[in-house]
């Protein structure tokens, strides 16, 4: 079975003053159905990695195969198409449109990918049912709790049946109760076969994943499952 993600020798350098090596020689393979968490302190390169995985940014060197297809040499239009059709995003700040109701926000996930208009509403309802938000179809995001908003955002990512769900600090803005609800949802999705990459600086969130990868100063190291208990909590605001 082809890997969903195969990063080989990926580096990303920001030409600021002084230049920042946000990612250095990163190698990562994610198989279908994996639930991978990437944990690391602030400024360690987590968002940079997610942007590259999400085809929102290009690495300076190395290759990125998504579902067996080399992506770093594709043109912008094709990468955009691939992003819309094969990837789902969940952001820390939800990125819901405040003036559109829950249903419309979810249907947005299907707007550009050629999904049939006729049954878009049904598919949005199904996605919302899946995240347990079927009872809030016509609420504005402003009237939802943080956890509910994130579940709507997850439904928006799921409507396009993505090969990979990329989550950047999905629980960063949530309290412990809402965090637990979102993490339970991730467990359900994983059980249903969704491939998940969750970026977090929160060890408790990270521990729920099947595979854990640590990032520090732009370098990745896989955390062996057996070593889980001995890993010390990261120091907040750790070294860059």
């Amino acid at each position: 079975m082809t890997d969903i993600i195969n990063l080989a020798g990926v580096s990303r350098m920001f030409a600021s003053d002084p230049p920042v090596a946000a990612l250095t020689d990163v190698n990562l393979r994610v198989r279908p159905g994996d639930y991978v968490s990437i944990v690391g302190p602030s400024g360690s390169g987590k968002s940079t990695l997610l942007n590259i995985l999400g085809l929102l940014d290009l690495p300076d060197s190395g290759t990125y195969h998504l579902e067996g297809r080399e992506t770093t040499r594709l043109d912008d239009v094709t990468r955009t198409a691939l992003r819309g059709a094969r990837l789902g995003f969940v952001f820390q700040s939800f990125h819901l449109l405040a003036h559109r109701d829950v249903m419309e926000n979810v249907m947005l996930g299907d707007l550009y990918t050629g999904g049939r208009r006729r049954d878009r509403r049904e598919r949005a309802t199904a996605a919302l049912d899946r995240v347990g938000m079927g009872h809030r179809l016509h609420f504005r995001p402003g009237h939802l709790s943080g956890g509910e908003r994130q579940r709507v955002a997850i439904a928006r990512a799921l409507i396009g049946t993505p090969a990979l769900l990329l989550c950047d600090e999905p629980t960063g803005n949530l309290d412990s109760v809402n965090t637990a609800a979102v993490l339970d949802l991730f467990d359900d999705l994983r059980a249903a076969g969704t491939t998940l990459v969750v970026i977090t600086h929160d060890e408790t969130v990270s521990r729920r994943a099947g595979r854990r990868v640590r990032i520090a100063d732009g370098r990745l190291t896989e955390i062996p499952v057996a070593a889980e208990v001995t890993v010390p909590l990261p120091v907040l605001g750790g070294t860059r």
């Binding site: 942007n51 999400g54 929102l56 940014d57 297809r69 594709l74 912008d76 239009v77 094709t78 955009t80 198409a81 691939l82 992003r83 819309g84 059709a85 995003f89 952001f91 700040s93 990125h95 449109l97 003036h99 559109r100 419309e104 947005l108 996930g109 707007l111 550009y112 990918t113 050629g114 999904g115 049939r116 208009r117 928006r156 396009g160």
Partner: protein, 415 residues
């Protein structure tokens, strides 16, 4: 729906036109008050233009309406009196032949006439009523035989004189209907005579009412052959040329008449032709509405700048939304199309509101002035389109800015 496939085998992102329209409308609807304020200048501009053009078309129509088809075929030429009685006449009677050959001329006549204030004393010999004043001071015209046609009149009784009477210098006279009444003549079969300044003339006909408004004086005149008139009454050289033309030919004939009548000195003749209705209409447009038109265009430019400015602000406010849409698979052109459509729709709204306001204004002004409002369909339909065009142009730069944003930067939200 099967998308277009590229070499990579991935169907490229697409956006249904209905979805695009829905997104754009939702975008405008987010801030109705701001949208309303944004379109105000456009409403003002389009409204001013529609009102100005509509009112000038309406006013032009009123002026044009006063010229019926008949007046537009009448030309009169006044010939200056020669400086001294001995100098050669400015226009010779023979010149009328040249004039009548011009294309578009249907009838030409000319006459010499007693000056106002020195009318001739005219008396009829049939009056038996002693109570009646016998002598009348009446204008006398020495005319060519073509006068009834040129002056749009006919013969009520008897006949008009002909070329033979003119050549023989016969002492015959035709009376205008009013003149005949004043002289107490109601029949010509008994060959009544009138004495003009003491000279007897045989009355051979009485004119019907005069059709031409500018020749009503003939109704009260005694008309004699110009040869006889010059010889016995010293009426002098021809002073007035009366021309009727084919429909629409009057302005052209008015232009050509001086050269045909007086090739050596066209300036001695003065032509009276109906004003060109088209010229009048543009004249009104030029004078009354030139300034308003400029005002309307300026308002439109202000409107365009307003829409451009607000769209740019909107684009920056919605940076994160742009990033999200790119993450969801929107291409640059989908982003650009959405903001272009939003600004175009705002412009269209302004155009519709402006056109409606303008049309109401035209109707109100027309009613106030007792005019029939003239509403050009092209104007009513074109105005909203002009508004849309303003919106489209105004949206170009903001849409380009939105499309150029990098998804990664955009997702971070406005700086």
């Amino acid at each position: 729906m099967i998308g277009r496939r590229r070499l990579s085998g991935i169907p490229i992102s697409r956006l249904d036109a209905r979805d695009l329209a829905g997104e754009a409308l939702a975008g405008i609807g987010v801030r109705p008050a701001r949208t309303a304020l944004t379109v105000l200048a456009t409403v003002l501009g389009i409204g001013t233009l529609v009102t100005t053009l509509g009112v000038s078309a309406t006013a032009g129509n009123q002026i044009a309406g006063r010229f019926d088809a008949v007046t537009a075929t009448e030309v009169t030429v006044d010939v200056a009196v020669p400086a001294s009685p001995d100098s050669p006449p400015a226009v010779r009677w023979e010149a009328l032949d040249d004039l009548s050959r011009l294309n578009g001329v249907t009838a030409v006549a000319a006459y010499a006439k007693t000056a106002a204030g020195s009318e001739a004393s005219v008396r009829a010999n049939t009056v038996r009523d002693p109570e009646r004043v016998l002598d009348r001071a009446l204008p006398v015209a020495g005319s060519t035989a073509t006068l009834p046609d040129a002056a749009r009149t006919g013969i009520a009784l008897g006949r008009f004189f002909d070329a033979g009477h003119i050549a023989r210098r016969d002492r015959v006279a035709v009376l205008g209907a009013q003149a005949a009444e004043q002289l107490g003549l109601s029949r010509v079969d008994n060959q009544p005579a009138v004495f003009v300044a003491g000279t007897p003339f045989v009355v051979i006909g009485i004119l019907a009412p005069i059709g031409r408004a500018d020749q009503q004086i003939l109704a009260g005149s005694v008309i004699v052959p110009f040869t006889t008139g010059d010889e016995t009454l010293h009426l002098g050289p021809l002073a007035t040329v009366v021309i009727t033309t084919a429909l629409g030919a009057a302005p052209l004939i008015a232009q050509q008449a001086p050269a045909a009548l007086s090739p050596n000195d066209p300036a001695v003749v003065q032509v009276h032709a109906p004003p060109d209705p088209a010229g009048l209409r543009t004249g009104v447009a030029d004078d009354v509405s030139g300034l308003l038109l400029i005002l309307g265009v300026v308002s439109l430019v202000v409107g365009a700048l307003g829409i451009a400015n607000v769209t740019l602000v909107t684009v920056i406010e919605r940076t994160a939304e742009i990033g999200l849409r790119r993450a969801l698979g929107a291409r640059r052109r989908h982003i650009a199309a959405q903001f272009l459509l939003e600004s175009t729709a705002v412009g269209l709204l302004g155009g519709i509101a402006g056109a409606s306001t303008g049309i109401v204004a035209v109707v109100v002004i027309s009613v106030a002035r007792d005019w029939t409002p003239v509403l050009d369909v092209r104007l009513a339909a074109g105005a909203p389109l002009a508004g849309a065009l303003v919106g489209l142009l105004a949206g170009l730069y903001p849409a380009l800015r939105a499309a150029r944003m990098q998804p990664v930067d955009a997702l971070r939200g406005p700086a």
